[in-house]
Amino acid sequence: MPISRRALAATAVAALVLPLSACGSGSDDGGSSDASGKVEGNITFQTWNLRANFKSYFEGVIADFEKQYPGTHVKWVDQPAEGYPDKISADAAGGTLPDVVNVSPDLVAPLAKAGFALDLDKSAAKYKKEYLAGAWASHQIPGMSGTYAFPWYLNTGPLFYNKSLFKEAGLDPEQPPKTYDELFTDALELAKKSDGKVATLANVPTVEDFGRYGVELMNKEGTGFAFNDAKGVELLTKYKELYDAKALDPQALTATPESSGKKFLTGAVAMNPGSALDLGNFKKQAPNLYKNIGITDQITSTGHVNMYVMGLMVNAQTKKKPAAIAFAHYVTDAEHQMSFAKKVAIFPSTAGSLDDPYFTKEDGTDETRVRIAAAKSLKTAVNYTPVLFSDQMKTALRNEVAKALQGKESPQDALDNAVKACDTLLQQQG
C-alpha cells in the first residue's frame, strides 16, 4: 500500500516530538507514605557493584526473604561502580527507578528533594531504634524533615604507613604521627631527608579533611558553607608548606584515590588512608611493602574519625511499598548486617552489633587488629561529608585548593572562592 509523503512526514515529526513531550520527568508527587498492607508482590532491588563478590550472599538473603514472605518476589540488579549516580538519575528521570536502591547520603539528597525517596520517619519509624542514632541521622537532609534511607553498612579505615621510608628518614617507625602537627613535622622531615623524592601524602585536602581538622563545614541552618574560617585557612596553609617542600606529592593536584594507592604501593608515598581490605592487596601486590606496613589511626583533631555510610532507599513511587520497606529493613537488620560483615570488611550500623566479640576480641592477626580498632572508632565516628555536598562542589573545592597550593591564590582567597562557588551550587540545587 502506498504511503503518502505527508503521512511519512507526520510520522517522523511525531517520532521526534513525542519523546520531547515525555522528557523532563521528575515528580512533584512524593508518593504516599502509607506503608500499611500485606507484604507481597514483585519488587526490584539494586545494589552498587556487589554482585561480583557477594552473589551467593545476596541470593541467599533474597531466598530467605521470599520464604518468610510468601507471595513476594525480589528481582536483584547490580550496577557497576563507575557511573552509578548517572544510572540512578537516568532511572529516576525515566520512571524506572528500582523499588529498593543502594545509596550513599550524597545520592539520597537530590533524590529526596525530587520526591523519589520515601520518608522513613513516616513510613518505617518503628525500626528507627534498631540502628545507631548517628547512622539513622546520616540520611537526613538539611532543610527537609524526615529520614530517607535505611542505614546499611559503615566503613572507616586506618592510616597505613611505610615503616622503611620512616626509618630511612631517621623517624621512629614505631611512633607514627598521631596529630596534625606531628604529621606536618614528620612529612617535612621525610621530604627533606629524601631530597624531595618521597612524599608523605598523595592527596590534596578534601572536605572530610577539613572536617577532621575541626573546621565548621556548614552554618548551623545548613543553608551555606563555612569552611573558609580561620581554621580552614590554617589547614590549607599547612598543606601549602607541604606542597612547596614536596612533602605532598607534586601530582596530588590531579590524583585520584586509585592513583595515590598505586603510589603508596610503589613506595613513592609514605602514608595513605585505607581499609582492612587493603591488607590483602598489599600482601598480594607488594609483599615487600606488606613486610614493612605500619597501621595507625586516622588523624583527627575532633576526636571523631570519618566514616562512610551506605544506605537502602525505598522508592517513594513504588507500587509495592509494604514489600519494599520490609525488604530494605530485612537486608539492613542486625542479623543480616552481621552476617554480611563476616564476609567482608564492613561494619554494621545496627545498635549493639559493634559490641559483638567479632569486633572486640583480638586473635593476633593484623586483619583483626584493624577491624577491632575500626569498630571502636566507629562508635563515635562522623560522616564529615555534608549530604548536600555534590560532585560539582567537590570539584569547585578541589580546584580552589589547587590554586592555593600552586600559589596562584592565598589560602584565604581560595577558600572564600570555594565557599562562594559551593553556595551558588547549593542555591541552584533548590
Partner: protein, 315 residues
Amino acid sequence: MASSTVPTGSRARRGSRAPEDRPVRRVRRQLPSSPWLFAAPGLLITGVFVLYPFVSTVINSFTDRRTLIPGKFVGLANFRELLDDDMFWIGLRNSTLYVLGVVPALVILPLLLALLVQKNIPGITFFRSAFYTPVVASIVVVGLIWVWLLDERGLINSLLEIIGVGRVGFLSDQWLLLVSAMAVTVWKGLGYYMIIYLAALANVPRELHEAAAVDGAGAIRRFVTVTVPAVRSTMVLVGALSSVAAFKVFSEVYLMAGPSGGPAGEDTTLVMLVQRTGTGLTGRVGYASAISVVVFVVTVVLMLLVLRADRKDES
C-alpha cells in the same frame, strides 16, 4: 531491480499508451513510498539518536533544567552565565589550543608516514600494521599506558634523569599536561590518517614525479610541487576531520589530567565541562546544554572555515 528500469521524466509521468508499458505503470504507482520505506530504518535511527538529542539539547539550553527537576524557560540566561564563567573560558581556550596544536601535526605527519610506508619493499606490511595499531587500541588503555610512561617515576622521567635532564612534571604542570594529551592524540591518530593518505597517494600519477625528476627536481621539491598539490583535497579532509575531533576532545585529557581537569581544572576542555556540569544527580542539564550548543556552533564554524579555505585555494 524493477524500479531501476522505470523511465523518468515527463513522458513517464504522463503515462504511456504502449501496451508494453503497462507493467511499468503498476510499479510506478508504488514509487513515491518505496524510497521512504527503504530509508525508514536509517531515518528512524537518525531521528532518535541524532535529531532528537540535538533538538532536545537546544531546547534544554534555554531552560534551567536539572537532572531530576524539569526546568522552566529562562531565555538566554545560561548563555549570559557562560560569559561570566571562568571555567567556560578555560575550556574554550584549551579546546582551541588543542585544535591549533593537534591539527597541523595530524595533517602533515601522517602524510610523511604514508610516503615512508608507500613503497612496496619487503617487510613494509609490518610497519604499516605497527603504525595502525594505536588506532585500534582502546583509548582508555592507551591513556593509562601514557600516564604510566609520563609519571614522575615513570619510564620517560627515569630516562630523563639518567641523561641528566632531571624529572619533568608532565602530569603535574598544566601546560605540559595539555601538550602530553595532544601528543597522545597525535600518536593515536597517525595511523588512521596515514591510511587515508595512502589511498590518496595511490592516485597520484607516477608520470608527474618522473617528469619532475627529469626536470631536475629533488625529493623535497617533488614533495612540495607534486605530492602536496595532488593530495591537497585529502589534506583538507584530514584537516576538517581532525579539527572537529580535536575541538571535541575528552578522553585523552580526562584520562591524563583526571576528572577535575588537571591542576585547578586548568586543563578542562569544553566537552569535559559539559560532562562535569551536566551529569550526576545534581547535574545542571540546561547549563551543560548551553555549553554543548556553543561547541556545536564552533564546530560548524571550523568546518566552514576549512571548506572556505579550500575553495579559495581552488579558485
